[in-house]
Amino acid sequence: MTTAAIHILPEQLVNQIAAGEVVERPASVVKELLENAIDAQASRIVLEVEEAGKKLIRVSDDGAGIPADQAPLALASHATSKIGSRDDLEGITSLGFRGEALASIASVADVRLLTRTADALEATEVTVSGGRADAPRPASGPVGTTVEVRNLFRYVPVRRKFLKTDATEMGHITDQAARIALAYPAVHLTVTHNGRSVYQLPPSESVRERVGAFFGGDLAASLIEVTSEEPGGRLWGLVGPPHVDRATSVMQYLFINGRYVRDRGLLHALREAYRGLLEGRRQPVAFLFLTIPPERVDVNVHPTKIEVRLRDAHLLYGQVLATVRERLLGPGLTPSLPAPAAAGAGEPAARTAAEAESAEAASDRDERVRRAMADFLHSPAAANQRRLPLAGKTALQGGFARKADSDAHRGAPATSPVRVQPARWALRPGTSDRSRLGETAPHGEAFDEAAPGSRAIQIHNTYLVAETEDGILIVDQHALHERVLFEEIMKRLEAGPLQSQRLLMPVTVALSDREMAAVEAYRESLGRLGLEVEPLGPRDVGIQAFPSLLERGDPEGTLRDFLAWVQAVDSPPTPRQVLEELAHVAACHAAVKAGDPLKTEEIEALLAHREAAHMAATCPHGRPTALILRKTDLEKQFGRDYAAGSKAAATDEILPY
């Protein structure tokens, strides 16, 4: 057995080894080439792919180009125009800087570079095959740079074997394209695969449009904008409302200074912002863009730069958490009811345009609709909630349309006497318990001045329907009440154990051995909630006390559901998770159920809570508690939007053609 002598590796082998880090699969090549195009200030990029990049990856840009004399260097290792000194490394403003990518790619594939600067008379072509570069030669071509990568991994067959199916590899390529497209919406990006157009993305100001192009218009439309400016950096983004969740974190896009990164800390902050709003292990959807001073982030950590080191990680963590959380818990976050799109409309672009337009829509029209809505909610058909399940449909269609029309004929007054705002659900101090909902009926001033009747109605004994500033709010009564109770319990728990009402007779619950053990293990947490559980026998426990906050709660159901959860979780839950789950099950069992008829006062008290609590628009299980049927959507449905803003619309409505 002989020992191999130590020797310096040939350059190509060095590059091939380096390529192992940088060029993992075709998508890695796409990433490097697209980033180069962006760094070259391109405004138009064309990505052409054949056989999922195994045969060809071609990226053409209209960027600065490379001067003829430097073109060969571009393919050499550690050659770059992006940084020049140690100081530049401290404040990287370009996506690439290492000068490794092209050389690495050239070591594992056949590469052809065609480039021309704006002031050059002709283009320059350089080809590299098998690691050997040919001399540059003049060629014809447009300003900008085109890089062709053929036969990827031709020189590292092992790597080629590890490639997945074309569909999978193309998926990775698309994701890389999406990352660039989302971060640089002003860049025109075209993607083709095997000669077919995959994406054709014209320059846009809107990240939302780009999200729509890649992930669908419904998702894009549902996203909520978040923004905050702090000394440490500026955060802007689009996040999904809690009901738009995913099983994994793949839909979490985080960009720092235009660079896509996976930062565990900041993604954790994002997940934390959704705490209590998402069910179980569901993951939020988010597109977050952080702009921070370049010197505050070290991107020279990882060859693909997917991980970065942040100087002010804790500040940014707090900023992400607070910004997103505040927005989620803030008022007005209610999923919009996706009304079936009117013919010819419904593209994401059309939707955002409609939203923009609605802001400018003539105010008298808004007032007219507002009045019509108010009248509808006042009409006898609506007031008679007992009959509504039968008569509701006709009342809605007939009553609403007729009333609106007659207003239109009359010519709506400039200001409406009935201007209904959500705050009309008079804020009264906490009345959460079901029995209390009715006892503290509003007396009064808040209602008398403009709204002698009920502002909200119950339908199917399950949903509450109320007018809001810009549409109709539909609330799931159980989900909302559960949410209210959950928030109250959690608020209370932060201050200390819940007040506990002892029971006259213990509620006896028969349990399995595992459940008995769980009761023992979580006795302290149960006690904090006010649930006192004592063993009565080998497989029996007695609930001796129950939180007095939940006077109408169901002690046995609460305990059973909690124990079921304990046994279902994979890993030992944290104390906070335990308390949250306890609050969930307790709130769920104490809340009004679907099918419970509610009195008018109860409806109003419940809705008042919704406003007062500023709660999130989901119940603790992550289901939405409310939907909004937007006025703009209503207008679309009734064909009132085609001439929005024009006074002529009022008369046109009678003969619509």
Partner: protein
């Protein structure tokens, strides 16, 4: 049928009957009140199949005997709007007409034959209780029933009648009310029954209208149902019918503590006022008030973190050792409200043990404490 009716009498009868009518029944007939006119009175009948009522109205001038079935809510609404002393009422199989000077109503109804039978008070088997005694028994227990409970048996009041002793018991799992009274004429054998809260409310309502008349109520309890006949007052005879709750009432004797070693006596209205004051600074998140017994004084305190604190003092007769114990003030007020005597006794043992409020031997109220943090 056709009759000239005293409007006030008819209205009060229809009002009580409306309380029985099933609010949203799939059977339209159950949303109606049935009228039976004969000789010189009209009987109103209403039922939701669980509970039913018969109300006999005199002062009616029946011109044609017969039947009518009229939707309860409309009928009641119309009667309330009229202010004439008398009205004319006539019914056919399909409709009922109400005539008053200047007003004419025709209400479409249903065929009276579709209306389910409402049992009448039987000839035999009744025991009797003074109307005001029965009212007191019912009022002292009804409030402690569970408003809604999965354990169905609790959503009602237990009646135990043996010899001349009548005992009514109700509990919602956090408190228990027990009231004792005497029969005028006891039943032949011991009877036990759980009467649903809705029927108890109806009984209280009928008794309230007649209790001053020093009259006697009669009761028949069978295996499946109960009938209570409330004697004629202004509006005439009323019979409440109800099915019994099919279930087991908790063993209430076991729940009433026998080992209470501390006893305080105090003014009923003073306690009520003091608790009511202290309760002003509680909410449903921290419902408890703290009762501190020491020497001749009871100090009631409440504290709600985001609201404030209250401290109310009142003199009591107490010579046991100092003790602090927390209660839901609503429970204390509910109990104090139904005590007629000027003084009540409050017995207890320790902070996490039940307290008992007593009025002599006729009323026992067990109330469980809360942990006040």
């Amino acid at each position: 049928m056709k009759a000239v009716c005293d409007r006030a009498t008819l209205t009060s009868g229809v009002q009580v009957a409306s309380a029985v009518v099933a609010p949203r029944s799939p059977k339209p007939a159950l949303g109606c009140i049935k009228m039976v006119a004969e000789k010189d009175f009209i009987t109103l009948l209403a039922t939701d199949l669980e509970v039913g009522i018969r109300i006999e109205l005199d002062k009616m001038e029946v011109q044609e005997p017969g039947l009518g079935l009229v939707p309860a809510d409309r009928f009641h609404a119309i009667l309330r709007e009229l202010d004439e002393d008398t009205i004319e009422l006539s019914s056919t199989e399909q409709e009922t007409t109400i005539e008053a000077p200047g007003s004419h109503f025709t209400i479409l109804g249903d065929n009276p034959e579709d209306f389910p039978p409402v049992p009448d008070f039987p000839e035999t088997g009744a025991f009797s209780v003074a109307a005001d005694d029965l009212l007191a028994l019912a009022e002292r227990t009804l409030f402690a029933t569970a408003k809604e409970n999965t354990r169905y048996a609790l959503n009602g009041v237990l009646w135990e009648v043996e010899g001349k002793d009548v005992t009514l018991v109700a509990t919602d799992g956090r408190r228990l009310s027990l009231a004792k009274g005497k029969c005028k004429d006891g039943p032949q054998e011991k009877v036990t029954a759980i009467v649903p809260s809705k029927a108890m409310q109806l009984i209280v309502r009928c008794l309230t209208d007649t209790a001053e008349a020093k009259s006697t109520a009669r009761v028949v309890i069978s295996e499946k149902d109960i009938l209570v006949e409330v004697p004629p007052a202004d509006g005439g005879r009323r019979v409440v019918y109800s099915r019994l709750v099919d279930g087991h009432f908790p063993k209430y004797e076991d729940v009433i503590p026998k080992d209470l070693d501390k006893k305080a006596t105090m003014g009923t209205s003073a306690l009520l006022a003091a608790v009511r004051k202290a309760a002003l600074l509680t909410n449903e998140e921290s419902r408890g008030v703290m009762l501190k017994f020491s020497g001749g004084e009871l100090v009631i305190t409440s504290r709600t973190p985001e609201m404030g604190e209250a401290e109310i003092r009142m003199p009591i007769a107490y010579d046991g050792e100092d003790l602090e114990i927390g209660f839901n003030p609503q429970y204390l007020m509910d109990a104090a409200k139904v005590i007629d005597a000027e003084e009540l006794a409050f017995m207890f043992k320790g902070p996490s043990k039940p307290g008992v409020i007593l009025e002599g031997k006729t009323f026992t109220h067990v109330v469980m404490p809360v942990s006040v943090v």
